[in-house]
């Protein structure tokens, strides 16, 4: 079938090739953008939701990230790490939001957004872990989310956060330890 081949062709392209197609004609750009969105939207949104406390802000940043990704394709540049580029956009936007909210948000009443909880059986576990992640400092939270949620390698995280690999490893380790400590009172009840 024609559309089956079309899908397979898109699936075979690398992120860099798809990004390059964003500068082509409208139909090619649209197809490429859709494929990039399909591949990375869930991860980027999860990152935004984990890094930002307010889910309204997270969804705003998520939308802005993909709009900026599309806009950035107009500039002539060779992109080798599109995922890193997307997450860098998302991270910068998240930091901007964080800076605007320097007073910080109260940690009480943290809620999982719709879609993160309703469709999962492990709602209670997710809620606990989300609260634990929310209580991490930003630099620990970023490293933890990128490693355990987004499955980035330490090298990729180091590049994304502009730091060294040992620093990232240390942050991830400390973050895991803190999350475990927060979960500890309830860990025996969870399975």
């Amino acid at each position: 079938m024609l559309f089956g081949k079309h899908i397979e062709e898109l699936h075979r392209l690398t992120d860099a090739e798809l990004f390059a197609r964003l500068r082509q004609g409208r139909s090619e750009a649209e197809a490429a953008f859709k494929e990039l969105y399909r591949r990375h939207a869930a991860r980027v949104r999860a990152y935004c939701h984990k890094v930002l406390d307010r889910h309204e802000d997270a969804d705003d940043v998520f939308q802005e990230t993909f709009i900026r990704l599309h806009a950035s394709a107009r500039q002539e540049r060779t992109m080798t790490n599109v995922v890193g580029f997307i997450f860098r956009i998302a991270r910068n936007l998240c930091l901007n939001v964080k800076r605007r909210r320097t007073s910080g948000e109260p940690l009480d009443g943290l809620e999982l957004s719709e879609g993160f909880e309703a469709s999962l059986e492990n709602g209670e576990l997710l809620r606990l872990i989300a609260c634990a992640v929310e209580r991490l400092d930003l630099h620990l939270r970023e490293a933890f989310v990128l490693r355990d949620y987004e499955n980035f390698s330490y090298e990729e995280i180091a590049a994304l956060l502009d730091t060294t690999i040992p620093t990232v490893k240390s942050r991830v380790r400390r973050a895991r330890k803190k999350v475990r400590a927060i979960l500890a009172p309830n860990i025996s009840e969870l399975d």
């Binding site: 079938m1 024609l2 559309f3 089956g4 079309h6 899908i7 397979e8 898109l10 699936h11 649209e30 197809a31 953008f33 859709k34 494929e35 969105y37 399909r38 939207a41 869930a42 991860r43 949104r45 999860a46 939701h49 984990k50 969804d59 998520f62 939308q63 993909f66 709009i67 599309h70 719709e114 879609g115 993160f116 909880e117 309703a118 469709s119 999962l120 492990n122 576990l125 997710l126 872990i129 989300a130 634990a132 490693r147 355990d148 949620y149 987004e150 499955n151 490893k169 991830v172 380790r173 895991r176 330890k177 999350v179 475990r180 979960l183 500890a184 860990i187 025996s188 969870l190 399975d191």
Partner: protein, 446 residues
């Protein structure tokens, strides 16, 4: 031994040296704290995986992004078969078609209006010409529809180029002579006339043009038939045509029909208790029907919908079709609708592991349909219905067994049990989304 470091390496998938692994396992046996740490870490990783998998953006967010970029919404990896505005345009066209057919489904009401308008002028003692204030004066199509629906003395008259004005006028002269209707009814009739006029103005010139498509064509005036055409279109209602004033040529057929229609008026009048006469079986003037269908189908595996493709909320779980009457009981047509279809397929997560994914995207389907309707003496008309077509993702089909219930010659309601299925492809693997359910709706025949 730094068990925390070993735990981190384990979680990162770094192979442990044999002695370190032994130490870790030994410590896990003896230390409940370490076991809880490991359990907590594993649960966290599992939850993180679930969290990311469940983080698919809601449809409205996806819509926002794609609308901001001027793109279609909701990517699913499938190519659209039709351009984006189709859903909107189809909705508009469907609405226009439905409005046209709905408007055209009021023949009895309009004929009453026209008749009463004429009769009213008769009671006032003026000539039986269409009152300028009555809907009958709006144009020839009103009286044509009147003749179409009722004919002469309640008989069905196929549409033709006869003098509809005259037929109606004479018929109602007869009714008026018997005082069949009270003035109050006339007032209501005029109120209805005003309503019809208002409706028509609202629907505008487009509907008028559509309606004219089914008006009988009046042959162009010529030396031979000019007087006949004038007699049909301009002569006063009570002015009988000049007999044999036109030679019996094909061009004079309209005049002859008018004469035959006039002759009918000499037959016994319509009974007073039923001035319209019995409703004759109405044959469709156009062999078309429009069907609006509501769909209540389900799949036991349905999951909450997270994806939408070209969704128009008002059209969710509905369809609209236009069918052409090919032969006795046989109808063919086209139909389009919008429903959610469950999909389950294998995919790979960010770690490359094979996982099962489920989604319930809303899909618009299109198809060509065939319908076999069995006529019965009762109001019920069983039917079998099949549609073959496709969605944006692949071929689709639908079969249904049900029955119509005949409310009036133009309107039926129906219900049916149905099976439907769509197909989709993910990578190179095809899947199917079967559903079963019940559909119900209206059928407007014109």
């Amino acid at each position: 031994m730094d068990y925390d470091q070993l735990l981190n390496d384990f979680l990162d998938g770094i192979p442990l040296e044999y002695p370190a692994e032994q130490h870790l396992f030994a410590a896990l046996q003896t230390s409940e704290q370490l076991r809880n740490d490991l359990r907590g870490s594993i649960l966290t990783l599992r939850a993180a995986t679930l969290d990311v998998a469940a983080g698919a953006p809601p449809a409205h967010i996806t819509d926002n992004i794609f609308n901001a970029l001027g793109y279609d919404d909701a990517p699913t990896g499938a190519r659209r078969l039709l351009p984006y505005p189709f859903g909107t345009v189809s909705g508009f066209v469907a609405g226009l078609v439905v409005a046209f057919f709905l408007f055209a489904q009021f023949p009895a009401r309009e004929s009453t209006v026209a008749r009463n308008g004429l009769r009213s002028t008769a009671k006032s003692g003026t000539a039986l010409t269409p009152d300028a204030s009555s809907p009958a004066a709006m144009g020839p199509h009103h009286t044509e529809r009147n003749a179409d629906a009722r004919g002469v003395n309640g008989r069905y008259s196929p549409p033709g180029p006869m003098s509809a004005h005259r037929v109606v006028g004479v018929q109602n002269t007869s009714a008026a002579a018997h005082g069949a209707l009270a003035p109050s009814t006339n007032e209501r009739a005029f109120a209805n006339g005003a309503e019809v006029e208002r409706l028509e103005r609202r629907l505008g010139a487009a509907l008028t043009a559509l309606r004219r498509l089914r008006r009988p064509a009046i042959p162009p005036a010529s030396a031979s038939n000019g007087p006949a055409i004038l007699a049909q279109t301009a002569a006063p209602i009570d002015a009988a045509p000049e007999p044999r004033s036109v030679p019996a040529t094909p061009d004079s057929v309209p005049t002859m029909r008018a004469e035959r229609a006039y002759a009918h008026t000499q037959q016994p009048a319509v009974p007073l208790d039923d001035p319209l006469g019995a409703e004759p079986p109405r044959k469709p003037t156009l062999p078309l029907s429009v069907e609006l269908r509501g769909i209540a189908s389900t799949d036991i595996r349905t999951v909450p919908s997270q994806l939408r493709i070209g969704t128009v909320p008002l059209e969710q779980n509905t369809s609209i079709g236009v069918y052409y009457h090919v032969d006795e009981g046989d109808w063919v047509g086209v139909e389009t609708g919008q429903e959610a279809y469950y999909q389950r397929f294998e995919d790979r997560d960010v770690s490359g592991n094979i996982i099962q994914r489920e989604q319930d995207p809303t899909l618009r389907w299109f198809g060509v349909g065939y319908k076999r309707i069995i006529e019965t003496p009762t109001g019920l008309r069983p039917f079998a219905h099949a549609i073959v077509g496709g969605t944006l993702l692949g071929p689709a089909g639908r079969i249904a067994l049900g029955t119509y219930y005949h409310i009036n010659p133009a309107l039926s309601v129906f219900g049916s049990l149905e099976l439907s299925a769509t197909t989709f492809v993910h990578g190179s693997t095809w899947g199917a989304s079967p559903k079963y359910g019940f559909s119900y709706g209206l059928s407007l025949t014109y």
